[in-house]
């Protein structure tokens, strides 16, 4: 489903991703953990085409994200090609990024109508189903600014699902939430993960959640994968010292 081939990403002189190689199979739930600044979020942003790779290639379903075939040559992807590849990918942001100028319903219907070409009726029907799923049916006509952080994030999750993505990127989706709202959002995500065959790539600091839902956990440091294992193995008996110290530090913090 996703494949990173020798991906390098630099911001100026800072190397964020250093010849990174990994892949994610369809339907898998893969969690990225590691210290801040280790490049986890950059991976999601590269996949969403919010950033460009410095070198190397990323494949989604066998199609290259950054380049396209023209004749026999590979040329940098244009907007049209990127939009086609992006179609399959959804993303939920740390800061929700809801559109404050639209009510909840329109936040959910805007992109399906404009981008997928759904009719308004279809889009609204689906939006209402999704709002029911995230438990916010009564907020259908609210403005994002009238919602709590947890509610905004639920709407953002519903908005991403409304695009029927094959793959969902979760970027520290609970980091901006008040502690008492975190559990609800995580439970919702777990529910979605178990009831759909969407591929998940998730960056989080919630270790219990990661252990609970992931098929595989990747430990990151300095732009490289330190360890790649199933959660039980990685959290109970990690092979690497770096993983051990990181987990100890995170778990001690509570």
């Amino acid at each position: 489903m996703i494949r990173f081939d020798d991906v390098v990403k630099r911001f100026g002189d800072v190397v964020v991703l250093d010849e990174l190689n990994f892949s994610v199979a369809p339907g898998e739930f893969v969690t990225l953990i590691g210290p801040s600044g280790s490049g986890k979020t950059t991976i999601l942003r590269l996949l969403m085409t919010l950033e460009k790779v410095t070198s190397g290639q990323i494949f989604v379903d066998g199609e290259c994200l950054s380049h396209m075939q023209r004749g026999s040559r590979l040329v940098p992807a244009d907007e049209k090609y990127q939009r086609k590849v992006r179609q399959r990918i959804g993303m939920v942001f740390q800061q929700f990024n809801l559109f404050p100028n639209m009510k909840v319903l329109q936040n959910l219907t805007e992109a399906p109508i404009r981008s997928l070409g759904l009719s308004r009726a279809e889009a609204e029907e689906r939006a209402l189903e999704l709002l029911e799923l995230v438990g916010l049916t009564e907020k259908v006509n609210a403005h994002p600014s009238q919602l709590s952080g947890g509610q905004q994030q639920r709407v953002a999750i519903a908005r991403a699902l409304a695009m029927r993505p094959d793959m969902l990127l979760l970027d520290e989706v609970t980091s901006a939430l008040d502690p008492e709202l975190v559990a609800g959002v995580l439970a919702l995500l777990k529910d979605i993960a178990s009831s759909t065959d969407i591929t998940f790539l998730c960056v989080t600091h919630e270790m219990n959640f990661a252990r609970d839902v992931s098929d595989r956990v990747l430990m990151f440091d300095h732009g490289q994968i330190v360890e790649d294992a199933v959660p039980d193995k990685l959290f109970s008996e990690p092979d690497h010292e770096r993983t051990r110290t990181f987990l100890r530090a995170v778990l001690e913090r509570g």
Partner: protein, 260 residues
Amino acid sequence: MFDNIGLFVETISKGLLLTVEATLGGIVIATILSFVFGLAMLSRLRLVRAIARIYVEFWRGTSEVVQLLWIYFALPVLIGYQIMPLVAGIVVLGLNFGAYGAEIVRGAVQSVPKAQYEGCIALNLTPAQRMRRVILPQSLVEMVPPFNNLFIQLLKGSALLTMITVHEMTYQAREVLITRHVSQAATIWTIVLLFYLVLAILITFGMRLLELWAGRLVGRKPPQRGLLSALRSRRGRAAAITDAAVAGIGHTSDRSGGDR
């Protein structure tokens, strides 16, 4: 001292309509040009950006008085016929203040958080959909206060049309009243100032209503205080964008990075 007040008010009122016409005409043209060139300055195409930049620098850099003198005295020589003074005045007001307004539009669009662009990309909206459906509606509310300041500047700028013989309020006072009643200059000019003050307050009220409407677009609650607070609320954030527009200095927006 107060004998002739009735006459003064009546004479100045004769110029009121022209002042209002010039101001409204200028506002309409300036607003259109603000959006056209403000968005053009954000274009991906270098040439479009360059053209917009030249328009802005030219009309801000040459004084409004010079522009009026040019269009009134010099242009007729080049094109062979005299333009109606009011029309010439409206065109200059529109072109001149449109250049300042373009900076306001650019600044307000750029002040929309980068996260909103990213949200649009994640939802696969086209650049045009992004601008029209998401970014512009959000930047409108940021634009209204600086445009309020700009429109009041434009109202004040309309007094300069005196120089090209538009018989607006300042002309009525200077050329009609002062010549005959110079001993009552203080009264005459005070009345003129009050007329302008009232017009400025009307503009502010109008813009305040517009701001409430634009605020509702982004789900902002109307402030507790009523319309009377309008004059006070012109300041603050508006000043920042207006100053940037006055100076042509880029409005640096908050581009938060997050975890890399």
